[in-house]
């Protein structure tokens, strides 16, 4: 027994001394939920890949923790006229192999990023309609056919690669590290898919150097697994802490949490294009004219939802009630729009005014593995609506099945459902992104309304959105976006916002990270308090 105790004490001491020694070597081990599908920064334009690319590559313009634009490989940028943007490039920047960064690399990047073979999601979204030309080694101009104000936002999404190493390089060459040579704060060491990604410090980085000599990234998909790995001291830092573990981690003396609101709004889309909506019937099951076409009914639904309660109970306090498309502080956000107050009496009155005093029957569809607690939110909403007379049945399904049906599961690739729960994160960090994709009339030719799963359509709002997307002046554009939001969301209820997600990171004591609105884990910004 005595022996056992000593043994245990020794082990405990050894375990406790581990983090201290790790600190001296300045190594960081990170447990992350998602793994990128490639190291090639232009292969897959999706969250995990873009987050990983940030570590190895830079962009001309970077986004800070609130998605505000910062000089990256470009020191300044401006619109010379409505159709031309000029970028001044940073001098003295070197790639990881020592070759200098020049305008040629930017021109090369713009060509490569849209031409990666078999790319499952290409950077065409950010590059189309822009022609890059080199003025001198450190000046680039982008021309557009029509005035395009989102040039800086788009460019802040495109990682710059080296022309020397990128010419002829395939995605496999990046994955092996042969071509993965960027200007970023870390150099790529190796990637064993499903097992580990290793990075090492770029000692010649042009910006603020990272304090970590070596970073090991471990993909740990299971939420409890990530938390356990952190508690066991096997990793120093994890992302995407499951809400159920947050209160427990708060009590741990050796763990520090970092929380922040995200750019992701969870909202409801309502069928606004069919007289006869497939998942809506009268109380007796007979056909009725789609009540969601009526503004009053949509407002009644919004009033019937107790957002505070959802945040408190379903989201365990880790969310913020939403009244529009993006939280305060983002570009194009209205100062006047607050979350709709919970008012069941008012909701019932509105239903009565709309000629439906006894309500109707409806199904709410939602994913069950896409957003934080998505299935539970759908269930809560169904109950709240049932309470005012709209008998709502929740049906949730895996995202792999859900999104196809919600987007184009019906006849002629129309949305299949009547009432859906969805989320939207704004990649550009401004309201134009959700306005353009969720609320503009579905228009294939123009590429607008691609994710408008309720097919809400309002000519006036369309005009405002299109005008905003052609207004280079920031102040004017912001006003237009505010007007469009107030009209499309506030008055017309094209969508019903529920809440903004809050993301949580956790680290062992001594490591700090500032939560980002874009949900990314940017490793060189992880620091130690020492």
């Amino acid at each position: 027994m005595y022996l056992n105790k000593t043994l245990y004490a020794t082990m405990l001491a050894a375990a406790m001394s581990l983090p201290a020694s790790a600190l001296m070597a300045a190594d960081l081990t990170v447990g992350m939920n998602a793994e990128p599908s490639a190291i090639d920064p232009h292969y897959h334009n999706l969250g995990p890949n873009n987050a990983m690319a940030q570590n190895i590559f830079n962009r001309l313009i970077e986004q800070d923790d609130k998605q505000r634009l910062l000089p990256g490989l470009a020191t300044s940028w401006k619109a010379i006229d409505d159709l031309t943007w000029e970028f001044k490039l940073r001098k003295g920047v070197k790639f990881h192999d020592g070759t200098p960064f020049t305008a040629d690399d930017v021109i090369f990047t713009m060509e490569r990023a849209v031409n990666v073979p078999n790319s499952p999601a290409s950077f065409v979204t950010y590059i189309k309609g822009k022609t890059a030309s080199k003025i001198d080694d450190y000046t680039i101009q982008f021309k557009t056919e029509r005035p395009y104000p989102l040039m800086p936002q788009d460019i802040s999404n495109v990682p710059i690669v080296s022309k020397k190493h990128g010419t002829g390089a395939t995605t496999a060459d990046y994955n092996s590290g042969k071509a993965a040579i960027g200007t970023g704060p870390f150099k790529f060491v190796k990637w064993v898919p499903g097992d580990v990604i290793e990075l090492t410090k770029n000692a010649d980085y042009w910006g603020d150097k990272t304090e970590w000599d070596n970073v090991t990234i471990k993909p740990i998909k299971s939420g409890p697994g990530r938390v356990a790995a952190l508690l066991a001291g096997d990793v120093d830092f994890i992302d995407d802490v499951p809400p159920t573990d947050i209160s427990r981690l708060k009590k741990e003396a050796n763990i520090q949490l970092s929380q922040g609101i995200s750019n992701r709004v969870i909202y409801l889309h309502m069928d606004q294009f069919r007289e006869d909506s497939p998942f809506i019937t009268a109380n007796d099951g007979s056909k009725i004219k789609n009540p969601l076409l009526d503004n009053r009914v949509r407002l009644a639904i919004s009033k019937a939802i107790n957002r505070e309660l959802i945040v408190e109970r379903v989201m365990e306090g880790v969310a913020v009630p939403a009244g529009q498309l993006l939280p305060e502080g983002f570009f194009g956000v209205s100062p006047n729009m607050k979350p709709e107050k919970y008012d069941p009496a008012g909701a019932k009155k509105l239903l009565a005014e709309a000629g439906l005093p006894d309500g109707f029957k409806m199904t709410i569809h939602g994913p069950n593995d896409r957003y934080i607690n998505d299935a539970k939110i759908a269930e809560a909403i169904a109950q709240m609506l049932t309470a005012i007379g709209i008998k709502t049945t929740p049906i949730t399904m895996p995202k792999a099945v859900y999104f196809k049906r919600a987007s184009r599961g019906g006849p002629d690739n129309s949305p299949e459902f009547s009432f859906v729960l969805v989320g939207w994160g704004s990649g550009t960090g401004e309201a134009s992104s959700p306005l353009k994709s969720l609320l503009h009339t579905y228009d294939k030719a123009k590429g607008f309304g691609a994710a408008n799963r309720g097919r809400h359509s309002n000519v006036e709002a369309d005009k405002l959105i299109e005008e905003a997307l052609a207004t280079v002046d920031d102040k004017k554009r912001s006003d237009l976006l505010i007007k469009a939001t107030e009209l499309a969301v506030g008055q017309r209820l094209g969508i019903i916002p529920l809440h903004y997600q809050v993301n949580t990171w956790a680290a062992r004591k001594g490591i700090v990270y500032k939560a980002r609105t874009d949900e990314r884990t940017t490793l060189h910004l992880v620091s130690s308090t020492k």
Partner: protein, 325 residues
Amino acid sequence: MSVFIIRRLMQAVLVVWIMSLLVFVGVNIVGDPVDMLINPEADQAEIERVIKELGLDRPIHEQYWFFVANALKGDLGNSFIFNQPALKLILQRMPATFELAIVSLLMAIVIGIPLGVYAGLKPDSKISKTVMATSILGFSLPSFWVGLMMIMVFAVMLGWLPSFGRGDTVPLFGIEVSFLTWDGLRHLFLPALNLALFNISLVIRLTRAGTREVVHQDYIKFARAKGLSQNRIIFVHLMKNIMIPVVTVLGLEFGGLIAFSVVTETIFSWPGMGKLIIDALQNLDRPVVVAYLMIIVVLFVVINLVVDILYSILDPRVRLQDLKG
């Protein structure tokens, strides 16, 4: 013997073909991988481009035909997500899964058989009763829960073992293995035990039942009467006769261990095929799912074949029967 093997092989080809049809059609009518792949901000034109590039705009019979034609050439298609051959992705992860499955199978044998024999020989002892009672837990507790509990106890609370992942690897015949390093073994222990629990219980019960039956047989009594040592009776006469059901079940279970290591691999973030398949299913990476299921089908068929052959070695009656047949 060869007639037996040829007949088995022909059956196997039929099974593989039917499975390919079921798997391909089954996987292809569910959902749409495009929505999992594209950036949500992509416009309609980009969505259409991806659909076309992945060949998803073609009718399903055309896609199947394409798949079979390529599969016969040994190409099971490229992963939608990684743009690498699905087969290569799976083979890359295979050593990790095999290592886990083999170690857990060994655990089942090394722990299960002695305990089972003991419980069979001394059914009334307290130890035997405890072993049997515990084996019920091994059967009935869900393995994801046991896995999480193991992590909580051994990694988080006691800090004895690492909580996730695979340890240091060294190459052995060109394959990276982790069981030859200390770090690798430490990482291997918990997931292998977690995966083995069910089989340990199974082997204990099978061995015990077999022992109870065989121990009363005349030839054991005769061996005793002849004055053979207890060890010889147990290890030669008893073991040989209780092994047939154990070998059959373990053979089948080995396929199961590989196919169903999914849960354990997910909980312990073990970089094996199971984790790959879960990600592929969630993201509808159809070529990987199809290729994986095909490999598992082939694996089961091969294991069954091996078990049949082992049978005929262990039990001459099977051989003779077949000759007559």
